[in-house]
Symmetry: C2
Subunit: 339 residues, 2 copies
Amino acid sequence: MSPEDGGLNFADRLFAAVLEKESPLVVGIDPDPRQIPPQVFGRPRPNEGVRAFLARGVQRFSEAIIAAVAPHACAVKPQLAYFERLGPDGLGAYEAVVACARAHGLLVIADGKRGDIASTASQYAAAYLGEGPGRPAAGEGAGEAEKWLTAADLEGPKADALTVNGYMGRDSLAPFLNALDWGRGAFVLVKTSNPSSGDLQDRRLLAEGEGPGEPGQGAAVSVAELVGGWLEAYNRERAGTWGYGPLGAVVGATFPGELTRLRRALPHTPFLVPGFGAQGGGIGDVAGGFDGRGLGAVVNASRSVLYAYRDSGEQAFDRAAARKAREIKEALKARLFRL
Amino acid sequence: MSPEDGGLNFADRLFAAVLEKESPLVVGIDPDPRQIPPQVFGRPRPNEGVRAFLARGVQRFSEAIIAAVAPHACAVKPQLAYFERLGPDGLGAYEAVVACARAHGLLVIADGKRGDIASTASQYAAAYLGEGPGRPAAGEGAGEAEKWLTAADLEGPKADALTVNGYMGRDSLAPFLNALDWGRGAFVLVKTSNPSSGDLQDRRLLAEGEGPGEPGQGAAVSVAELVGGWLEAYNRERAGTWGYGPLGAVVGATFPGELTRLRRALPHTPFLVPGFGAQGGGIGDVAGGFDGRGLGAVVNASRSVLYAYRDSGEQAFDRAAARKAREIKEALKARLFRL
């Protein structure tokens, strides 16, 4: 645990970063070799595997983007799929990206959308968020393997938060909640930004124990509201400085009505809002995710920042990304901040 | 694409393996360093990182298990979380395990429970299932980066199938369906084996467009039935030799009533049934997942096989695993096969 984690609620850490940078912008690191300027890759080294070669270029590109956007963003969100695609070398590039972002003072949200039974989910939590200082098994009396595992978890750089899929139910979230106790975060998928997100997430539920012929009195909640309700119940008891608890929700920018409705229904739950930019969400679309102080949410833009050079006529991809990130930051700030 | 994939429906490949081995047993490879016999690890090499050291032991253990259970199982299911916990070296061990299983003639089901928006899900599909021979972009006229990516996807050994989380809706499944066209498989989470799976999956849905005060006529479907219905609609048009399509469902052994009900509701959908053994499911509990011929499902056992040595007094962990796998195979065969 680094000192800045000490005793903090992840929402406090997140919004402290937002206030310091005056920016709720999260830059998504989705490095697609087909969209990275070819000169970034150069040529393979002798006997270098293709994945190692591509991973080097992906890392170089991502590090340049991080350095360029650091003044304008509170966090970066590496998308694990792009790194996993390049195998072990890709995962090495992911870890280099995490270390680079932390060195630039940025929070890191690992976008893996993991979820599994508790014994497996605890492996994902350890892999991406590490293990806390209070881990009892690593102390006196722990077995040899337990001590090795604790050392292993300290070896790779860890993210500050991980995105999580709650389809498997509340016990599958429990291992991630442990990590919240020592300052790490999790964002659980509630209402996602993709076109088909409504297939399941918008469907409304019968009250428990209620038959289709015996409708309940209250309004039926949607699947998104059910999952959001789990998070809100947890956060209500753990609100920090700004009134938010540490367990976040992913709520997309592409359904602004839902975003506004969920902001009202989940007043203690911090939101990660993807879908801004390339997926179609604009400044007006994300406004409903914020509270009256301009807090409560962070907004992710990935492709629109990373590949800004393609539309800008600007030859230097990092300068184009910095300009785009600053532009989004200023637009969000003008619209949202009343502090 | 290897020749055995040619033109085949994944369900045909899966059940051909079941019939050849006379075993619907899948052995889950969940290598937990705390449960692996310490002598498997030996001592670290000079200057070796902790994760590299543990990954070598995990690989050695997994390869010995695969060799031991190969005569008794149709497939193995490496659980990615245990490998990811060990970082890039762990992912290297995962790839070695995939290659080892394929060399032993076993199918490989990568258990990653991935799911994301389509552009990201296509990265997961390429990472774990590879790209098919017909990939148009890799041919004439493709860009340099596209050619490198195609070469990269050929570099690492790929699994035969991947587990997938459908919370994000049908468009998030589409990239995995592409891989089905050339013989790969996917198993989508429907009703999982963990205690809280009912939190969301058992909840029943109002019909679309129906208010809580205007109940529909039909029986309300559960979330599990909704997701299962997507798979069944796809498979119905694509049934192979045994009447099953290539898009599988994960349905746990720990809720045998649900398993039986879902088998009836989804007659063209192959099932992967976890939760057998350490999680509590027994032979009687899984029977409802099979059709009258003993096909339609495969059953996963992980910890009860991997760590059988701990209960058996048997010093050799691989012999203990082989004995346990054979015992499960014989019990399943006696109960299920009527071919």
